[in-house]
């Protein structure tokens, strides 16, 4: 209420400053990179008097047009005098980051004079990287705009140790999604894909990003559930000056765009906006455990029920268009009148971003394989059970909007950011399926499958954030709450596979009867945190105490509904066009096919669950200097985590109350953990540091993993099983993974961001969770997440960013950035796994009881050259990225391990500014220049690798223009 009143007063106090301009800047401590609050900013000639920096270190001064001199001073720092600051009428002169040097005893009165102001030179992040006790890395708005990256995902790729998968999701240090985490404005936000820990990053326009910071070591104020890295995106609250841009871009991939063979299917009228218009809605009456079937229901009712299903079952060819991406963003800040009482100038900032993207993917030669070993230990090669080959066409539509308001006075800030993302993905595939009867558990058939899928996702998030600084107590208080609603629906996933033999028909024992699936997911997250930072002095050096509390509540409801087509009697098909199958002449009671649907859904449904979790946390952490060279952060975080589950197994769902399992908001995980962290930085000299960190973190199973859900992927027929199901080798009790981390690093810095570092790290995983093939099931391919013993990891990391200036001064703007991470990970297998592997030991093979950890690449390599011409704002770069072969699925017994193979990604980018005012940005990119494929293979001793999955993303070109408005 007070805030609203303040904003109202503020707006009424907005007043014209006639022809004057504005000077804005941010004042930092050059030693720590931190902003300075309350620094005096004086301008004798400006005509508007003096001001002081606010709680963000920002200042804003009105000034008459012309050249001015500005003096910035703060207690214990050298005064900075800026000369020749040019101000134009009605324009904002942005001075960027201004770093004050601490007072030196010998030069007490010296004033640093800066004649020419450098713009946006990334002091904060570079200093942060250099001086922070925790191992952090990042990229700032300044750097992003210099390079010309359009979205957060492109920018994040430039951060050491970050790899991007699927063009959307980031992974840190080659560790899988389970061990990486992404936050937005410091808050846990579920992604559009709620089963991932990471946010889809390609929806954040870089205009609105203040910075992206990656933490590789844990500190107590962060959530403890990350191990590889935590990536935080901070959005802007108060743009330095009015920004406004419109961007349009397109891309062309010869395999995917303008391809007449592209596959799609008849969807709804609103597909282009990322919504289903009801075309794929669940038919009325389909939800119950009893649906109209012959005999029990009147014939007309069965007939009309079947007719209420969408009759499209087949994919069709249609020329794909070019990808299109449109973006609009704007933002500004206004200043109110200086209040006479406190001398403060209130500010109101806003940001708005709207984006639309439509992308086409067409994979012409997709392959899925299920392979087995032979029983005979001297037969090394693998044989197939099922080979599936075909095409997939995918169209993704994304609508996104971000709206933010922020209000601040010198010592108080309040902001609110509202975000909505809407995404629709339509997919059509056609596959030949070849099943080999001779393989174990297989019946042998040939089928042609048509797969139609639609996935609709949305995410709505609102962030409220308040910050207050109490200078007299050296305290900053920050609170945040960020509720999110995520919805993900897969309406009407259709699979229709004719089996080809002497006749063409649907065979339940072969290609299967046509089926349809609806999946619904709703998730609500409410994270809240309250943090206090207090500055104090320890051993005559500045020190900080951080403490706070937080709570994160999550709720998810998930449900799968499944329907199977049946034929009341025989079948006879005159043609094999799937779109003719639901022709009224084939629907019950019409002879000979007499189609009706059977429901796969009990009441209650075993494939429906509600889960919730609550994490209550508290922490205390202190950052202090032991001596002039050694700074340390010592912290302790406590998290009390409770996860509850409501759901039941199949036995219970089919009425077996005595033997079945039924959970009603029962606790399935409950733990109170302490997470100590120690981070030490020892400065060898001004440009070299040694770092050490020792921390404990955690990785918790997801809602989906702690469930009775059985989720079939209709494309591949592979089935995910929740961990609650018990086997002889598995107790059904999935627990968290507790991880001890230790890092050691030496680093050297040069000017302009050049640096070299060497690190070593060690991680000890207690009860890591991996996807394990269920050996007992030999007919279908099924997996389950399980705890698998104990894992350890040793890693070495080298990072090198250098300018070519050393070779030739003319090449000073040509940079090399590279990093390489080598990792040796090891799991000590359970006896069950060891015996299972031993039983399929090949002649000459020696199976030991250790192997690599699933999801962990043995190496990650990133490297690139970039050139920046500052005057023309022209940049180009070549970047290469690869991740080593990674164990994807743990095979058991008959089934070999699955590894994802390295994807050699080579990309080129070019950007420049056009126009008189350089108001038009041009961007060109070429991706996957090596035309590599995305490949996972089965690997077995002395056997040729066989494909588990393969698709070809193809090479592509994209180009875009951004107009400054």
């Amino acid at each position: 209420m007070r805030t609203i009143l303040a904003i109202a007063l503020f707006i009424s106090s907005l007043s014209g400053f006639g022809q004057s301009g504005t000077i804005r800047g941010i004042v930092l401590d050059s030693e720590s990179g931190e902003t300075i609050i309350g620094a005096a900013v004086n301008c004798a000639t400006c005509g508007s008097g003096n001001t002081a920096t606010d709680l963000d270190g920002n200042f804003s001064l009105k000034a008459t047009p012309g050249a001015h001199v500005i003096e910035i001073s703060y207690f214990t720092f050298q005064t900075m005098r800026l000369t020749g600051v040019q101000v134009k009428a009605n324009e904002v002169t942005v001075l960027g980051e201004l770093a004050l040097k601490p007072e030196d005893n010998l030069k007490l009165d010296e004033v640093l004079i800066v004649a020419e102001v450098q713009r946006n030179n990334e002091i904060a992040l570079l200093t942060l990287k250099k001086k922070s006790t925790a191992m952090v890395d990042g990229i700032s708005a300044a750097r992003i705009s210099q390079i010309g990256d359009g979205t957060a995902v492109e920018a994040a790729k430039r951060v050491t140790g970050v790899t991007v998968e699927g063009g959307k999701y980031v992974y840190i240090r080659g560790l899988g999604d389970r061990y990486s985490k992404t936050t937005l404005n410091g808050m846990d936000i579920p992604g559009l894909d709620p089963d991932k820990n990471t946010i889809q990053m390609d929806i954040f326009p870089t205009d609105l990003i203040s910075n992206i910071v990656v933490s590789k070591s844990f500190t107590a104020e962060q959530p403890a559930d990350f191990t590889g890295g935590l990536l935080n995106i901070e959005t802007k609250a108060f743009p330095d000056k009015k920004i406004g841009s419109f961007s349009i871009s397109t891309s062309y991939n010869p395999a995917m765009n303008l391809n007449p063979n592209y596959l799609t299917y008849q969807g709804g009228k609103l597909d282009f906006l990322g919504f289903d218009d009801g075309t794929r809605r669940l038919p009325a009456g389909a939800r119950g455990s009893s649906i109209p079937t012959p005999i029990f229901y009147p014939t007309s009712e069965v007939n009309s029920f079947v007719q209420s299903f969408n009759p499209t079952l087949g994919a069709m060819k249609q020329m794909s268009l070019l990808d299109l991406s449109l973006g609009y963003s704007t933002g500004n800040q206004w200043e109110g009148k200086k209040t006479t009482k406190s001398g403060e100038t209130p500010k109101l900032g806003y940001i708005l971003s709207l984006s639309y993207k439509s992308n086409y993917n067409f994979y012409d030669d997709v392959f899925y394989g299920e392979y087995q070993r032979y029983i005979d230990p001297a037969s090394y090669e693998l044989r197939y059970a099922t080979k599936q080959q075909g095409q997939i066409g995918e169209k993704s539509t994304l609508l996104g909007g971000i709206l933010g308001f922020a209000y601040k006075t010198n010592l108080k800030k309040f902001r609110m950011t509202l975000m909505h993302l809407q995404n629709g993905e339509s997919r059509a595939g056609q596959f030949w399926i070849d099943n080999d009867a001779e393989a174990v558990g297989q019946s042998g058939y040939l089928a042609l499958s048509n797969n139609l899928e639609y996935n609709q996702r949305s995410l709505t998030n609102i962030l409220f954030n308040g910050t207050t600084v109490i200078p007299e107590k050296n305290v900053e208080i920050d609170w945040r709450i960020a509720p999110t609603l995520s919805l993900s629906t897969d309406p009407d996933i259709r699979k229709t596979a004719f089996t080809y033999g002497t006749d063409t028909f649907f065979s339940a024992g072969a290609g299967g009867n046509p089926s349809r699936i609806w999946r619904y997911l709703q998730e609500v997250n409410v994270p809240f945190r309250y943090d206090i930072t207090k500055k104090y002095t320890f051993l005559d050096e500045p020190a900080k105490l951080l403490y706070g509390v937080g709570n994160a509540f999550k709720f998810r409801h998930y449900e799968i509904l499944f329907y199977d087509m049946q034929f009341f009697g025989g079948q006879s098909w005159s043609d094999d066009d799937p779109n003719q199958v639901l022709n009224p002449a084939n629907i019950y009671p019409n002879f000979p096919n007499r189609i009706y649907y059977q429901t796969g859904n009990n009441d209650p449904n075993p494939n429906e669950y509600s889960s919730n979790s609550n994490t209550a946390s508290a922490y205390v952490s202190t950052e202090f200097s032991l001596n002039i060279r050694t700074k340390a952060t010592l912290g302790l975080r406590a998290e009390h985590y409770i996860q509850r589950y409501t759901g039941r197994d199949q036995a219970y769902a089919s009425g077996n109350v005595a033997n079945g399992k039924n959970l009603t908001n029962d606790i399935v995980l409950n733990s109170l953990d302490l997470f100590p962290s120690l981070n030490v930085i020892y400065s060898l000299n001004e440009s070299q540091n040694l770092r050490l960190s020792a921390t404990r973190t955690i990785a918790r199973p997801s809602f989906k993993e702690l469930s009775f859900a059985q989720i079939i992927d209709p494309l591949t027929n592979r089935i995910f099983n929740g961990s609650f199901f018990e086997y002889s080798a598995w107790s059904g009790q999935l627990v968290e993974t507790r991880i001890n981390n230790a890092d050691l690093r030496w680093e050297k810095f040069w000017e302009r961001g050049q640096m070299f570092s060497l690190s070593g790290f060690f991680k000890d995983f207690n009860n890591p969770i991996e996807m394990v093939r269920i050996a007992e099931q030999q007919t279908s391919t099924e997996f389950q997440p399980r705890n698998v013993g104990r894992g350890t990891m040793f890693g070495a990391e080298l990072e090198w960013n250098a300018s070519f200036a050393a070779l030739n001064q003319k090449l000073e703007n040509l940079f090399f950035n590279g990093n390489v991470t080598l990792i040796d990970s090891r799991i000590t297998m359970s006896d069950v796994e060891f015996n299972s592997r031993k039983s399929y030991e090949r002649t000459g093979q020696t199976i030991t009881n250790t192997r690599a950890m699933a999801g962990q690449s043995p190496y990650v390599l990133n490297g690139g050259f970039s050139y920046t011409a500052p005057e023309s704002q022209t940049n180009f770069g070549v970047y290469y990225n690869v991740k080593g072969p990674t164990l994807q699925i743990v095979g058991l017994g008959l089934f070999p391990d699955v590894y994802s193979e390295p994807f050699h990604s080579l990309n080129f980018s070019f950007s420049t500014k056009l126009g008189k005012e350089k108001g038009i940005g041009l961007k060109l990119r070429a991706s996957n220049l090596l035309n590599d494929d995305v490949l996972s293979v089965y690997k077995s001793y002395q056997a040729a690798d066989q494909i588990y999955s393969r698709y070809l993303p193809g090479w592509g070109l994209s180009g875009g223009l951004t107009f400054q408005l």
Partner: protein, 395 residues
């Protein structure tokens, strides 16, 4: 027929039935008069008897767990509710459990779908034909699955995979595990049992057979069995040593008889009528353990006006089977014996009702044990109690 059924139902209400049953084959119903429909939703964990005057409706996948025996009276009708996937209904006899379902030629036991209007009263009239569903209607419920502790060939000798999950039951149900080391294991006694209209699936290639026998031991007796219109195989054996005598597989949606994992028993005296896929789908061991099975004394009708089967006999390179005294008729061009050179497959007195026998053998070769002729081999008189016989379908 429908009118008759309704009359019978009215008669049932009047509870006149018990006295007309043969007292020597009918145990005493502890709840006389409880002659309605009983919906079964709980697993059977203690000995239990199902009585002929009650129709038992399977409300889910009902398991007879280890140590328990389910006894079913002659003349009892068991009906599975409709459903697919997780919702599929079936009767599962887990390892260590027993099914005593011993009918008589005059009073068989019927497993069918709730859509089937057949009743105990109809059986009492001696009419065992399906009253309202055609004999090609399948997939309306699951099937009967018997699992035992006999040896299966699903792993190598050192392997720990001496037990695996049975086809048709989701991996999540541990009662679906079968296999062990007790070849003389006894899972009970089935006689004069007709299983109809089943075979619903739980996923592509993972459906329920009419009668599934996984690791069933030789102590089990299975005789006089009829499978009608099952969406998957008629009878499928997964290892084990059980023998089956007098069996009919009619209109199987997949194979009529299917053997896997080195079944070591004998199928003696049988009739196969027009499966959609192979008449015999005979696979080899999947582990290093091997045992050979014998299939003998049978008649096969490989086509009808509505349906032509796929292979006459389909074996793998490593199949161990002795096929003896089998007559195959109604053969259409293109129907073949897929392999005659497998070292473990022996043909003795296989008679094809064709002119030129090598046209129906892969590779066009001749084999001493396979000849042209017209002499049936099965003793079909024992099948007089079946729907197939009563409808005149057995030639």
């Amino acid at each position: 027929m429908r009118i008759f059924y309704q009359m019978a139902a009215v008669a049932t209400m009047a509870a006149f039935t018990l006295t007309s049953c043969d007292p020597t084959t009918t145990p005493v119903d502890p709840n006389p008069g409880d002659n309605t429909t009983k919906i079964i939703t709980e697993n059977i964990t203690a000995n239990e008897t199902w009585y002929a005057d009650t129709t038992y409706q399977l409300g889910g996948r009902i398991t007879v767990t280890a140590g328990a025996t389910l006894t079913i009276e002659p003349g009892t009708v068991i009906k599975g509710e409709a459903g697919t996937g997780a919702n599929a209904t079936a009767l599962l006899i887990a390892r260590g459990g027993k099914l005593m379902a011993v009918g008589t030629p005059s009073m068989p036991i019927i497993f069918t779908t709730v859509a089937d209007e057949i009743s105990h009263e109809q059986l009492m009239t001696g009419d065992f034909k399906g009253p309202n569903l055609d004999p090609n209607v399948s997939g309306l419920w699951g099937g009967v699955i018997i699992l035992g502790n006999a040896v299966i060939s699903a792993s190598n000798s050192a392997g720990d995979v001496s037990e695996v999950q049975i086809e048709g039951i989701p991996t999540s149900d541990q009662n679906g595990l079968y296999g062990g080391s007790d070849n003389s294991d006894n899972s009970g006694h089935l006689a004069y049992v007709s299983i109809r209209h089943g075979g619903t699936n739980i996923g592509a290639g993972n459906e329920i057979n009419g009668l599934t026998l996984g690791g069933v031991g030789s102590g089990t007796t299975i005789e006089n069995i009829e499978i009608v219109s099952n969406q998957d195989d008629g009878i499928e054996w997964f290892g084990g040593m059980v023998n089956v005598t007098n069996a009919i597989s009619w209109n199987a949606g997949d194979d009529a008889f299917d053997t896997d994992q080195a079944w070591g028993g004998t199928l003696d005296n049988f009739v196969v009528i027009t499966p959609s896929d192979h008449c015999f789908e005979l696979d080899g061991p999947e582990g290093s353990y091997s045992a050979s099975h014998t299939i003998k004394n049978g008649n096969v009708q490989a086509s009808s006006a509505d349906q032509t089967s796929h292979d006459l006999i389909n074996t793998d390179a490593n199949t161990p089977v002795s096929l003896e005294h089998i007559y195959i008729t109604d053969i259409m061009p293109g129907q073949i014996i897929n392999r005659v050179d497998a070292p473990g497959v022996f043909f003795t007195d296989i008679v094809l009702n064709v002119d030129t026998v090598q046209n129906y053998i892969k590779g066009g070769v001749t084999v001493p044990g396979i000849t042209a002729g017209t002499t049936p081999k099965a003793n079909t008189s024992v099948f007089s109690w079946t729907w197939a016989a009563q409808s005149g379908t057995i030639k």
